[in-house]
């Protein structure tokens, strides 16, 4: 049986496992701390959720994750991912089952949260370039009547394509924007960590 807590653990662990990979990506076009920041964040989150009931509801869990990330990650990713989890938590309040439509609504709330904080849009070489395509793909999949897991699979694929796309564009938000043309050819660390999380969730649920 899958629990929200277990799913979160798998997602967090995937990010922690990619710590040096994400850091290397950030060294190329940022300040080389994205993996370190995210790993510190999820380790802190793991401590916070350890005291929660194993069958804790998703809303409480995501709120704990959001608050935990905000108070431990720092940098740009902390407020952005923290806000994303908090907003997603709001959407699933009261629900016991998460269907594809709810899942997409949660993702969209997360994206909205990231945009409220970070003022970025698609094509600026940020995590949004993974998340927005993921949401769009889910939308199409839902309309095509796919199962939840199939929808998620499509979202993951779109996010992965989004990461590839970030290699081709100039960053205009975040630290990488200081590099202008020099940022081309490098994939965005935040888009990558977003995709790592989606992939982990998919692998867990599938």
């Amino acid at each position: 049986m899958t629990t929200a807590k277990e799913a979160l653990r798998v997602v967090g662990q995937a990010v922690i496992d990619k710590k040096s990979y994400l850091t290397d990506l950030d060294q190329a076009i940022g300040d080389g701390d994205h993996g370190i920041n995210m790993a510190r964040g999820f380790e802190s989150v793991f401590k916070k959720i350890a005291v929660l009931d194993d069958n804790i509801d998703l809303t409480t869990l995501l709120k704990t994750v959001g608050m935990g990330l905000i108070s431990s990650v720092g940098g740009a990713a902390g407020p952005l991912y923290g806000t994303a989890f908090l907003r997603a938590s709001g959407v699933c309040a009261g629900k016991t089952e998460i269907d594809a439509v709810t899942a997409k609504a949660m993702l969209d709330a997360a994206i909205k949260g990231i945009q409220d904080r970070g003022k970025a849009k698609k094509g600026e070489k940020t995590m949004l370039d993974a998340l927005i395509p993921a949401s769009e793909a889910m939308d199409i999949a839902i309309k095509a009547g796919k199962t939840e897991v199939e929808c998620l699979a499509d979202a993951v694929q779109a996010a992965q394509k989004g990461v590839e796309y970030t290699k081709t564009i100039i960053a205009t938000k975040g630290r990488a924007s200081y590099l202008a043309e020099r940022s081309i050819g490098h994939q965005d660390p935040g888009a990558t960590s977003s995709t790592v999380m989606l992939e982990a969730l998919y692998n867990y649920l599938e």
Binding site: G30, I36, R40, S71, G75, A76, G118, Y178, L179
Partner: protein, 331 residues
């Protein structure tokens, strides 16, 4: 990675501890937080809070003291501190006259400080913020995040600090800080990278005959790479880029900050400064005050930045006002 440390994951904690146990006359730790505050008794005035990632020492903790900051918040190395830490700093130093946040322009810093400001405002604390963005290496366009805040931030600490110490209201302290920001520009370069302790390897590599121009203060690469030039050519290049902003003209009084990035000997900074002064003199500027040394560093990066600040009478008086902090004492 070669460093005199104990554990890459503990450097900030141990550094903050080292600061307060070594200089208790200046600093004390906000128990349980990565925040240092003035050791002396709070007096009723506008409070100044700054901070950012660690690794820029003496910024920002070194500028906590009379005539400058009231609190500095230390994030992980090169990583903006989290909102809860900043929020605690704000609460600790507010005396009811309000708090000015001095933030360097990075997405992360701006977002975290803004979240903290929202939390403090919810408590009824009057909070204002200014965002420093002196680095002309980065083009300021509506498309981008805008220019970065680098060494010029220290001059904002100095002048806004003096204004606050004079008893001015929050709005006026903010205005003075904004005037500094509007009138200062910086440009930096490096000949050696630095290594984030937790990353364990240099942030970039440079060949023996290469330098990075337009470098920031977080080990990130600069705007471009060139073959290593002479100190005079480097000074010329940095100053030219600053003067191209067209805010400094003949007869203007200016303050100059020749800032070392961490591993550059003072000898080299003096050699750069000699040329900077010569260029500015030639241009008809009047250098009324020059600071030379490590003010805003990037761990053990070798390199320097030059900052120019145009002064009017108010800024000049505030710049020359007394300060008593671990890293800047004036009287």
């Amino acid at each position: 990675m070669k460093k005199i440390i104990n554990n890459p994951d503990n450097v900030v904690e141990e550094m903050l501890n080292g600061m307060v146990v070594s200089q208790p006359q200046y600093l004390k730790r906000l128990e349980g937080f990565d925040v240092v505050v003035r050791a002396d008794k709070k007096n009723s005035k506008v409070a100044l809070v700054s901070g950012g990632g660690s690794g820029h020492e003496p910024s920002h903790g070194g500028f906590v003291g009379r005539g400058m900051l009231d609190a500095a918040v230390a994030g992980a190395v090169f990583t903006s501190p989290t909102p809860d830490q900043i929020y605690e700093a704000i609460k600790a130093v507010d005396t009811g006259k309000g708090v000015l946040l001095i933030i360097k322009n990075y997405s992360g810093d701006v977002m975290n400080f803004e979240m903290a400001a929202e939390m403090a405002a919810a408590d009824g604390i009057e909070v204002e913020k200014v965002i420093t963005n002196d680095d002309v290496a980065v083009e300021n366009s509506t498309w981008t995040t805008g220019r970065r805040g680098i060494a010029g931030t220290v001059l904002v600490h100095k002048i806004a600090g003096a204004k606050a110490e004079s008893g001015a209201a929050l709005a006026d302290v903010k205005k003075a800080a904004e005037k500094v920001i509007a009138n200062e520009r910086s440009m930096g370069m490096a000949i050696e990278p630095c290594t984030v302790p937790a990353a364990g390897k240099p942030s970039f590599t440079l060949a023996d005959n290469e330098m990075e121009i337009g470098i920031g203060i977080h080990g990130e690469p600069g705007t471009h790479r060139e073959s290593l030039k002479t100190a005079d050519e480097i000074a010329q290049q940095l100053v030219d880029k600053i003067l191209a902003e067209n805010i400094y003209g003949t007869g203007d009084e200016v303050a100059v900050l020749v800032n070392g990035l961490g591993a550059t000997p003072l000898m080299e900074l003096y050699i750069v400064s000699a040329k900077v002064q010569a260029i500015l003199k030639e241009k008809g500027l009047k250098m009324v005050k020059t600071y030379i040394g490590n003010y805003m560093t990037s761990l053990e990066m070798a390199g320097c930045s030059v900052t120019l600040l145009k002064l009017d009478n108010e800024l000049k008086e505030l710049l020359f006002a007394p300060a008593d902090t671990p890293a800047l004492v004036q009287f």
